[in-house]
């Protein structure tokens, strides 16, 4: 195998299955499952090799000219490995989960086809080596997730899909405008550690600020920055594995990852600080964190509460990005991974309750811990992780964000962190208490039994695995290649130059 073309292989490992799955007839369940799982496993191996090579300092790049003056660039750098690694691991688990979740449901061929497309776009986003390539995959992501959001085809789903499209296409347009303007100012912008805009003459700095606002605004739609978050709670009508993917890896995270790329690899964190672009971002992220947490308090629908929680938690990433200093950077990058692991667990659990017990509302969850102990244990671990209780993954993020805020000379961010943690506790702990310490009061709305385990093993294995990662990422935070160590590696490279 030609390792030089590794980024292409990584991309192809989900693009090809997507095409093949579309071609497979609906009823060939075994073939589709085999294809899905082997592709997902292969991708983990490929990303693993890629990460290993990047750690050794070998950057691989594939480039060809799309049109004169603009290249199509796929590049495996440390940042790309961060996001690609997250996507690859969670894709495997979510595929397993989706197979169990959609057991016997119609249109599975279409679903898994777009599912793979969606992951392929995410891979493209992580590997994109310049803004234009990024934009291509970013738009592809919008198009491939829409069919997943409206998968059930109900009126509510279609309405949510419409809102989703409106928001994301408008965001995409802002992003496109920003990229085009930036092209005019500085030409084809490659992603590069510590950024590449420093050389731009001072006369175009005001223009750069406008462009920054456009780019962040466009990315902020997917990253669900308040007030651009309206689509996310509505998109909850999608099936649980889609929500899990949307919230943990694909859409929301793509927006956040875009913000990371723009700040670190386009503008460069030090140049962004000089342009005074970081403070507005801090304020926007802080407002989002508080607003999302507050709204989450009032939701009785489990998935809606989780959705508002995502709005709040994803902004931790933007918050960390905006804190000038390597520690804040570590906090942002590590949370990109940690939030993904924890939130995917929570959505798996929500799906398990819905599929097994027919429970969608928090008020119906009383006593579910007895009926579904493993799922509820996973939920408890992830919820405590989200609150930031040590030694779980969320604590590591929160700790680095907190120290980062102090290093950046912005102690008021600590108030945001504390307030948000208290609010997290206020909306997660009551659920945990209901699960374990309340007696079941009514029949489960729609109970199904699955033989030996509390629910289908397809649903249970991913849930328990990601919950385990939530613990491991916290307790073994200093393990080589742990999220924390990788984030530290990237931060070191972003500030050294």
């Amino acid at each position: 195998m030609n390792l030089g073309a590794l980024p292409v292989w990584v991309l192809a490992s989900s693009l090809l299955p997507a095409v093949l799955i579309f071609l497979l007839p609906e009823r060939t369940r075994t073939a589709r499952t085999t294809l899905n799982l082997s592709a997902a496993t292969l991708k983990i191996v490929l990303v693993g090799v890629m990460t290993w090579r990047v750690a050794q300092g070998q950057l691989t790049e594939v480039r060809f000219e799309m049109f004169p003056g603009a290249d199509f660039v796929l590049r495996a750098d440390a940042m790309a490995c961060l996001f690609a690694g997250l996507s690859a691991v969670l894709w495997l688990f979510t595929t397993i989960y989706a197979i169990g979740y959609l057991e016997g449901a119609p249109n599975r061929s279409r679903f898994f086809g777009f599912f793979s497309m969606c992951v392929a776009s995410t891979m493209g986003i992580s590997l994109a080596g310049n803004l234009i390539t990024f934009l291509v995959f970013y738009e592809l992501l919008t198009l491939s997730t829409y069919p997943l959001v409206v998968h059930r085809g109900s009126a509510k789903a279609l309405a949510a899909g419409r809102v989703y499209l409106t928001y994301t296409i408008a965001g995409g347009a802002a992003l496109l405008l920003g990229v085009a303007l930036l092209y005019g100012v500085a030409g084809d912008i490659e992603f590069q550690e510590a950024g590449s805009l420093r050389a731009v003459s001072e006369s175009s700095w005001p223009m750069l600020r406008v462009i920054f606002a456009l780019l962040i605004g466009g990315l902020g739609v997917k990253a669900a920055l308040v007030p651009l978050h309206g689509w996310l709670p509505r998109a909850m009508v999608a099936p649980a594995p889609v929500s899990a993917l949307l919230h943990a890896v694909a859409v929301v995270k793509a927006g956040a990852f875009g913000i990371v790329r723009v700040v670190y690899d386009v503008y460069g964190i030090e140049f962004a600080q000089r342009l005074a672009l970081l403070l507005p971002l801090t304020i926007a992220a802080s407002a989002t964190i508080i607003w999302g947490s507050l709204r989450a308090l009032w939701q009785d629908d489990l998935k809606r509460r989780l959705a508002y929680s995502t709005i709040s938690q994803v902004s931790y990433i933007a918050l960390g990005v905006s804190l000038f200093g390597p520690v804040g950077t570590v906090g942002a990058l590590v949370h990109l991974l940690h939030q993904g692991i924890m939130k995917v667990t929570l959505f798996y659990c929500a799906g398990n309750y819905a599929e097994t017990l027919g429970v969608h509302k928090i008020s119906e969850l009383d006593g579910a811990g007895k009926r579904m102990p493993l799922t509820s244990a996973a939920f408890t671990i992830a919820a405590f992780g989200m609150i930031g209780v040590p030694p779980l993954a969320g604590f590591v993020s929160k700790w680095y964000l907190g120290v980062g805020a102090l290093e950046a000379g912005m102690p008021w961010v600590l108030v945001v962190l504390v307030l948000s943690s208290v609010l997290n506790a206020a909306y997660f702990l009551p659920i945990v208490i209901r699960l374990w310490f309340r007696e079941q009061t009514a029949q489960w709305p729609e109970e199904r039994t699955y033989g030996r385990w509390e629910t289908s093993a397809w649903l249970l294995i991913p849930t328990v695995s990601t919950a385990f990662f939530t613990i491991a990422a916290g307790v073994l935070a200093s393990f080589p290649f742990s999220p924390l160590q990788w984030a530290i590696l990237i931060a070191r490279r972003a500030y050294l130059s």
């Binding site: 102990p373 244990a377 405590f384 930031g388 209780v389 040590p390 030694p391 604590f395 590591v396 929160k398 700790w399 907190g402 120290v403 102090l406 290093e407 102690p411 008021w412 600590l414 108030v415 504390v418 943690s421 208290v422 506790a425 702990l429 374990w436 310490f437 916290g474 307790v475 073994l476 935070a477 200093s478 393990f479």
Partner: protein, 593 residues
Amino acid sequence: MNTILLVSAVMVPLLAAFGGLFAFARPHVARLLPFLPLPALLAAIVVPEATRVSSSWLLFSGNWSLDTTRATLLTAMSLVWCIGGWHALTSAETRDRLPSLVLPWTAALAGNMWAAVAHDIGGFYSGFAVMSFAAYALIVHRDTAGARTAGRVYLVFTVLGEMAILCGLLIASHDGAGDSLEGVAAAISTGQDPELISALLLTGFGVKCALLGVHFWLPAVYTNAPSPVRVVLGGAMINAGVLGWLATLPIGSSVATPLALPLVIAGLVAALGAALLGVMKTRAATVLAYSSISQMGLISVLLGVALSAFGARTELLAAITVFAAHHGITKGALFVSIDAIESQSRHWPLFVLPALALTGAPLTSGALSKLMMKHAVYDVGWSWLSPWLSVAAIGTTVLMARALWCAVHHHTITHTGTYAVDDTTSSSRGPSRHPMLAITSTLLVAAAVLWLPRDATGSIGASGSDALALLWPIVAGVGVSALLWQRDVGLREARSNNHVAMATARDTDTAATVTQDVPPSLSAAMRYARLASGAVAHAASAVLETSRAIALGAVAHVESFADPERSEAWLRRHASFSFALLLLLLLVALIVR
């Protein structure tokens, strides 16, 4: 070998907790509960200070070892956990539903042991948090309305406390502590915001060890938790908070902190005020809860002194450590014995020795710790505290007498308010298996004096003048108790039968009502105070409450028991509010500094 012992102190309970995840393993793990703390006990006794365990893979590198302070506290904590585990196996309240107790019990134990050995911020804080949150499940084990209310109050205080600790550690880490817990004290001494970090850590850990103002959860929790849980909460976990203080605050540093005097005063108010309030309670566990607040007040006093004393680190540290260890074991034994007495009142002699130890009678661990305390206080020039400590000892004696009285008359007293416990469990108890356990725990208290380090004073109150100084408060306390008993303060009516039915009917919904009702006579004043500021509200309502309790006690009216309860519930609610406000104020101080 030492390394393995140190690691197994934490890993054995942790493995047990892992086993507790699986329903089939739970009954087997349950039988091991008294033995799980044994590796920790052994480690505390034999592992030398030089033994260090660290792993570069763990969060913040994990750095485990035991110095004298930690070894002393760990000995006491693991003994209490053993007694508690044994108690859980035999107590009528828990033995039938033991499997559901296994996971939180082992998790809290593992957390406690983890915090006891970890010298890195990540490890210590992790253990502390695991212990705190697992304790919630222990507290609500009885699943009564009162237990739920208590659990909720506990959670609110715990979450806020965790936040205070997090902020304190974050700022300290930024000020140069890095990831080492010992570095925090240095960062406080040399960094740019010593008062802020100290205040955050004082209140944060203070939640666990009942610092005045953040103690409001404690009486409700001790009253409503099952007896074995009281043992480990009041005997072991409380000392994790003390350890948090000792490990992070700059004791005996060269920089005096302006927080020292307020801390001493808060400690004295708690030591005396809790005795006054506790005497009004009708349930032995509640009385002991107030006794804990009072004893922890003494620790606050010592800590306050320690924070202002230049260079007297060793002596004060030893005094606090010995006091905390003594209090932990003694309080554990007291909780065991009142449970024995409540099931059969003829077991009352079991109460006497731990009670005497707590009051500081000669030849007990209490005498040792009291004398160490007095010497330490004298040596650093705070001798004016000495008479107050004697007054506190009188209070302790009265509290002990009251607790014994309540335990003996357990079946004839009517309880109201949040402290009313669903009595179906205790009245339908099977034959008691407590005496052996209670005897053992009492013997432990007697033995405690033998192993507590005694280099600081070399005396355990055997000399004549010391014995006199220790004895007179006890005699005075017994006298006061006799006086109160003769006047039968407020109990005559409470014992009359027609109130029993009423109170039982109320049991189910009192918890809900007491948290909402504001006593009308106080509401105007208290609302005003609340508007003024959260901190002022604390002080004002504590004064109001105290004077009111004294007045009501004199009147000896049956309602006197309902009303302080209500005002307390009000306090609990608003105290958490003002705690949050305080936290916010501290952070604002950080921003504007």
